[in-house]
């Protein structure tokens, strides 16, 4: 367990300046900026919206909608693949495997970096959503500051649900990215599964496709889905464990680690 700390540090340094880091930042800032621009375009409606008791919930929903349906699953597909593929791209797997680390340490430190970056994305996204909400009242005198405080507890629970919903996507993309040298395999598979999931959204067994889980949470939050049956979060955890276990077994059993 102690060995994972230096391994994590090492993995964290590797991603510096890589495209995956930029993806996290762009992914976090994109929706709040677009939501803000739309709000400014419709500034005549803003005084009423900002005066509403449910302003924060509405605003957060507006930001989360495109994020949960498209940007988040596709962002995870791309960022996870880019990060895990650093070793293939630079031909560095052999150096990693010739270093004094157990294979288990290498595997879990890499996965831990993926999860940490996802947490980073969530934190930055929430921060930008929060900050962007204050721009119209600063720019336009007729727009009041929100009357109610941010319902942090509710929003954090919502974040947590979406985060759990993202876990199987991260795990499956991680599995593909460390297995296949060709970058197109994890990215292509991820995009295909996401497309397939959106096409069968209204199918009664759509809950079996994990690429829709963030969207399900969004729909539930908006009242479009009354109750999740069965509980997609339990399914998400089950899928995550299954994908991660499979990824670990395949990684450990790989005969050529050079």
């Amino acid at each position: 367990m102690i060995a994972i700390v230096p391994a994590f540090k090492s993995e964290w340094i590797k991603k510096k300046g890589s495209l995956s880091v930029w993806l996290v930042f762009i992914g976090a800032v994109f929706t709040p900026v677009i939501t803000l621009l739309i709000a400014i375009k419709n500034r005549d409606k803003l005084p009423v919206q900002y005066a509403a008791e449910t302003f924060w919930k509405m605003y957060w929903n507006q930001c989360w909608q495109p994020m949960s349906f498209m940007l988040l699953p596709l962002g995870i597909v791309l960022a996870t693949s880019l990060l895990a593929q650093l070793e293939f791209k630079n031909n560095t797997w052999k150096q990693v495997h010739a270093s004094p680390q157990t294979l288990t340490t290498i595997f879990f430190s890499k996965f831990a970096v993926q999860l940490t970056m996802l947490i980073q994305l969530f934190l930055l996204f929430n921060l930008f959503v929060y900050l962007s909400a204050y721009v119209p009242p600063i720019l336009f005198s007729e727009v009041p500051f929100p009357k109610t405080g941010v319902p942090w507890s509710e929003l954090m629970q919502y974040n947590l649900k979406i985060f759990i919903g993202c876990m199987p996507i991260v795990a499956l993309q991680f599995l593909l990215s460390i297995q296949f040298k060709n970058f197109l395999v994890p990215v292509g598979t991820g995009i295909f599964l996401w497309l397939l999931s959106t096409l069968v959204l209204s199918w009664e067994y759509a809950y079996l496709l994990p690429y829709l889980y963030p969207a399900f949470d969004q729909l539930t939050s908006q009242g479009a889905l009354v109750e999740e049956t069965p509980d997609i979060h339990r399914l998400a955890i089950g899928y995550s464990i299954a994908f991660l276990t499979l990824a670990y077994i395949l990684y450990i059993r790989k005969a050529d680690k050079g």
Binding site: L86, H97, S99
Partner: protein
Amino acid sequence: MANFLVETQDLTHCFGTETVVNSINLNVPAQSIYGFLGPNGAGKTTTLKLILGLLRKQTGEVTVLQKSITSHRVEILKKIGSLIESPSLYGHLSAYENLKVWQPIYNTSTPRLHEVLNLVGLHTGAKKVSKFSLGMKQRLGIAVALLHEPMLLVLDEPTNGLDPNGIIEMRELLRTLNQQHGITIIVSSHLLAEIEKLVTDVGVINKGKLMFQGTLPALMTLQQQAPVMLETSDNNRARILLSQEGITAQLVNGNLLLPALSREQLAGINRMLVLEAINVYCMAPRQNDLETVFMEMIKQTA
């Protein structure tokens, strides 16, 4: 008993039905520079990957520092620095940042990062590694391998792609590391001429089989046992005369090929032939430098 830092016993490895490493018994003496020679595809990289545990071992045993790589992998790798095939570097990072990647793993100090960069003569600042020349990448690859002050350095074709000056610099660096820092080095190459000035011990591999293993002087002995090529105005009569003197000569490509002889014996043969009115046009040891010896070994398995 000799003190071997690396030993393999009956190491065999197959890719599908092809045996690429065939029952190899490698013995690398401590503090030596071991030249691992063989043509491309001979099994050098596979053997080195097996030593480092990069390939799952099929048959045989690999022992490093008297411990099995299978059961003591992490412990052994703490003492090994390696550069296998092309350098493994992160192109989007600078040289210093590449070393920073390995700093937590090897638990080395920050001054050590500067020390190894100085040692390999790399002062590139913030320049990204993707902009480096191959020579600079090779040097950084060695800096990474040296970061944790290893006891053993495993270098696979480190001079590949280097210009003559780069090869000389690399040779000097490896010699310094061996002589001043006591590091045992295994260096593979497909060109004997490139490393014959550097190594103390040699292993020659071809088609997965170890053809020769020993010290460089032992290999030199093979060189000194050079046959002599003789060209005369009457080779047939010269052959009969030599036979009468107890020297067996073979007719090869219109010339006579004599076994290895001393300088005095050669002078005596020359005198005898001239006295018998046979003109001697050429008498020379057949080309038998280390490269030829090496090529001869390779031909034996062709």
